[in-house]
């Protein structure tokens, strides 16, 4: 029986702590935003611990994108699906505490040293790494639907709509829901 506080009830305190510390580590590596760490969240939550299926993982991210607010909230949905509200606390605290602490302490330094060579080298060097991480996130999110050619068509259609028009992403997401219900993907 699924409870609100602990979700499916698979995780004990030690496992919740493990979830928190893993997300804390990822928080400091999230150089291009939290979504760039999604492949490693999937590796940990789906492959290593088997707390979620591929389909549940992707659905968690999709659900968060369909709702308003910062995209980082997909980690809360992952936490909720793993272990209810306790899981939300684990993933959200893990994701936010290290990076917010660092942001508050480092912003003044970065502010004063924006022209420093080290900071410029860091920004230039990490740009291609960030894009590579976004490509792998795309790949991982397609894990449940990848073999079908219709999946590639829907991804391509989303890409065209997002790059060529200025409509809200809510519309392609609604289109995706319709395509799924029609059995196309």
């Amino acid at each position: 029986m699924t409870s609100l506080w602990l979700g499916p009830g698979l995780l004990g305190t030690a496992e919740l702590l493990h979830l928190t510390t893993h997300f804390m580590m990822l928080s400091l590596l999230a150089v291009g935003g939290a979504i760039t760490t999604a492949p490693d969240m999937q590796r940990f939550v789906v492959r290593e611990q088997a707390w979620l299926s591929d389909a549940q993982f992707t659905a968690s991210v999709a659900l968060a994108q369909a709702a308003p607010g910062p995209n980082v909230l997909f980690v809360a949905v992952i936490g909720f699906n793993v272990a209810g509200l306790a899981g939300v606390l684990a993933t959200l605290v893990g994701t936010l505490v290290p990076s917010t602490t660092l942001a508050l302490t480092a912003s003044r330094w970065a502010d004063r040293n924006r022209s420093s060579r080290a900071l410029r080298a860091f920004t230039v060097g990490l740009a291609p790494v960030t894009i590579g991480l976004l490509l792998s996130t795309t790949w991982i999110l397609l894990e449940p639907t990848r073999p079908q050619w219709t999946t590639a068509a829907l991804v391509a259609a989303t890409l065209v709509v997002m790059l060529r028009t200025r409509i809200s992403p809510l519309w392609p997401i609604a289109g995706g829901a319709a395509a799924g219900m029609a059995g196309w993907v």
């Binding site: 910062p70 990490l126 291609p128 989303t158 790059l163 395509a179």
Partner: protein, 189 residues
């Protein structure tokens, strides 16, 4: 065009909280564009240049850009109370909303139609992430690293994390350090 007004300041942490709650709830698929419209055009709490400066600092730091931006802006206005107010505004209402959705979806998981809809939404979610990657990739043409080195770095990162499933820490610290070292020589003193 009239002269740009001198930027005002939010009067209290409470004002920050309300403003960030409102802009978070307007942001579907990303809050950053809404933040620019609200903070720069509507509230006039900062100029366009100040916004871009804040964004570039937020991008360098790890963590979600919009979260870092809210923290730093809140901190500049009202110290840690401002930072906490802006962050809470950004997260609280959307969190309640998204968890309600998640609980509903969990309750309906047995319904095949819901599973089908979520599967289709997942494909589009992947497409949205890809469109961010494509949009950012345009800036690589101007990178001091040169386009060929950038393409190699993009592909190496994608293959290591997405295909070989190496731990992110190894890839970001390894490839990130190598790329930063390469950039160090190219960007000059």
């Amino acid at each position: 065009m009239a002269e740009p007004l001198p930027p005002a300041r939010p009067r209290s942490p409470g004002v920050l909280f309300t403003a960030f709650t409102a802009l978070a709830l307007k942001g579907f698929g990303g809050v950053l564009p809404v933040a620019q419209r609200t903070l720069v055009d509507d509230k006039r709490w900062m100029t366009r240049e100040q916004f871009l400066e804040l964004l570039s600092i937020s991008q360098v730091l790890p963590g979600p850009n919009i979260i870092n931006m809210a923290l730093i802006f809140g901190d500049r206005c009202h110290g840690w109370r401002g930072a906490a107010a802006a962050l809470a505004g950004l997260l609280c209402a959307p969190l309640v909303l998204v968890l309600t959705l998640a609980a509903l979806a969990q309750g309906l998981r047995g319904q095949p139609l819901v599973a089908d809809a979520l599967r289709g939404m997942g494909v589009v979610a992947a497409g949205l992430v890809l469109s961010t990657a494509v949009r950012l990739a345009g800036s690589l043409r101007a990178s001091p690293l040169g386009l060929p080195a950038c393409v190699v770095l993009v592909l190496a990162t994608a293959a290591a994390v997405g295909w070989w499933r190496w731990p992110l820490a190894i890839v970001v610290l390894g490839l990130g350090a190598a790329a930063t070292a390469m950039a160090w020589r190219r960007v000059g003193p």
